[in-house]
């Protein structure tokens, strides 16, 4: 994991943890309605869960947009490829290194919240950490997508494109989820239009992965869009994009 100067990595990590701890008052579950505490895992900690993921998604798209070009500019790629290292080994090494590092970073941030909840309420919510691990698939998706795009288009635009991809999915799936939320359906006694456009079914299900993780945290029922589970959807996309990246990098002139 050469690409991450470890010092700045730890500094950033320490800063983020510090921030989370100073904010602890806001999201531990001290919310009391009618003398009863609202759920043991507060809404605020769930919101923070997603906020961290969103922050991480932005961060990895910024990191991965220069993954290949930086290696080429500083000579790292020649260090590997002038030796008996296969190109796919190099690409997978770079991608998985970035992924593991960012997933670990995210897990530690979520762990901080997990510990704060634990100290405050004595409630151990392992699902919170499991959800974090599931959502690290979203990070991997963004890393692979940005890497692939950056082989064709300028780095910054590839990051923007990946974020655009992400936002479109969030609007599409978020809208669907909102329409199907229990509150709305009980209010209006209607089911959302079952005939949704097929692109929305097969679109990368980043939002639904997070929604699924969220349902694990609060142990609620998970309603997906379309017949395919979002985890299968996102894994398929990851495999597909990785394969295309490998094929293209194999032919690339360095």
């Amino acid at each position: 994991m050469d690409q991450m100067r470890l010092k700045s990595f730890y500094l950033l990590l320490a800063l983020s943890i510090g921030l989370l701890i100073t904010m602890r008052g806001c999201y531990s579950s001290d919310y009391v309605i009618n003398g009863q505490p609202v759920e043991s895992i507060g809404y605020a900690s769930r919101i923070l869960f997603h906020a961290i993921i969103m922050g991480m998604l932005l961060m990895v798209s910024m990191i991965s947009m220069t993954l290949f070009s930086r290696d080429q500019n500083d000579g790292s790629v020649y260090m590997f490829l002038s030796r008996p290292v296969k190109r796919w080994e190099y690409v997978l090494g770079r991608i998985s290194g970035t992924w593991l590092l960012s997933a670990w970073f995210m897990l530690i941030l979520h762990l901080t919240i997990f510990l704060i909840i634990w100290f405050r309420t004595n409630e151990i919510s392992l699902a919170y950490l499991g959800a974090s691990i599931i959502c690290s698939l979203n990070l991997l998706f963004i890393i692979v997508a940005v890497c692939l795009f950056s082989l064709f288009i300028p780095n910054f635009i590839s990051a923007i494109l990946a974020i655009g991809l992400l936002c479109t999915g969030f609007v599409s799936d978020g809208g669907y989820k909102l329409l199907n939320s229990e509150m709305l359906t009980t209010l209006t006694h209607s089911v959302a239009d079952p005939s949704i456009a097929s692109w929305r079914i097969f679109y990368p299900k980043l939002f639904m992965v997070q929604a699924y993780a969220d349902s694990l945290i609060c142990r609620s029922k998970f309603v997906s869009i379309g017949p395919v589970h979002p985890l299968i959807n996102i894994c398929t996309f990851i495999v597909l994009l990785t394969l295309i990246t490998l094929l293209i990098f194999n032919k690339k002139e360095i």
Partner: protein, 235 residues
């Protein structure tokens, strides 16, 4: 050892290398000469598998240069050797050592040996972002000779080196040659080439204009420099 068979490389419509064929035998010291932009580096990059020829075949020990296996025992130094700025010379060489299959103590001993050979002892722990051009080139050369390569591919290895560095590199290359290492060298230093190489090819506008042993080139009574100027200026 190396066979180039009718190699052409186009960048867009521009032919950087035009139907080049030659052969380098095991233990040979072969030099590629030619003016700036002649296509020497392009040939070396194809040898290393960094780029693919538009047509023709390159094999190294019978293996296509595009294959990873072909780079098993190759030492390589680039024209402007780049060392990742976040690594020290030692870390850089250590990575090379692990990439050629050395680890732990063996890797450290080998790195210390090559650092000593290129006279960088004491400076190898410094971050490479603080190295001068010549220091980077020395570390690059150290990386090339690390792990007993059978084939050295050197693209202007002495550019940026001081006279002592040039002499050191010449001595190291001659020592390796005497131990049977095959060497392909890109150079502009014709006097060096005259002194050390066995065969040379002069390449001009992507085409080989002469390829012969240094002995028979010199037998014409001309110096390599005169011949070089004559051949590359008339077209």
């Amino acid at each position: 050892m190396i066979v180039l068979d009718n190699i052409t490389k186009k960048f867009g419509d521009f032919k950087a290398v035009d139907q080049v064929s030659y052969q380098v035998n095991k233990g040979d010291f072969f030099s590629l000469l030619g003016p700036n932009g002649a296509g020497k580096t392009t040939i070396i990059r194809m040898l290393m598998g960094f780029i693919q020829p538009t047509s023709g075949n390159i094999t190294i020990k019978g293996i296509s240069a595009a294959e990873t296996r072909a780079r098993k025992k190759i030492g390589y130094i680039a024209e402007q050797h780049m060392i990742p700025p976040y690594l020290s010379g030692f870390e850089y060489l250590f990575r090379h050592a692990s990439l050629v299959g050395l680890s732990g103590r063996d890797a450290r001993i080998e790195v210390e040996r090559v650092v000593e050979v290129v006279s960088m002892s004491g400076k190898e722990k410094q971050k490479s972002s603080g190295y001068s051009k010549g220091m980077k080139q020395r570390i690059g050369f150290a990386a090339a000779i690390l792990g007993n390569p059978e084939l050295l591919i050197l693209d202007e290895p002495v550019s940026g080196l001081d006279p002592i560095g040039i002499r050191d590199v010449r001595n190291i290359i001659c020592d390796l040659k005497s131990r049977g290492v095959t060497i392909v060298l890109n150079s502009h230093l014709l006097s060096e080439v005259e002194k050390t190489c066995d065969t040379a090819a002069i390449i001009h506008k992507g085409r080989i204009v002469i390829k012969d042993s240094i002995a028979s080139i010199m037998a014409h009574g001309e110096s390599l420099e005169d011949l070089f100027i004559k051949l590359t200026q008339e077209t």
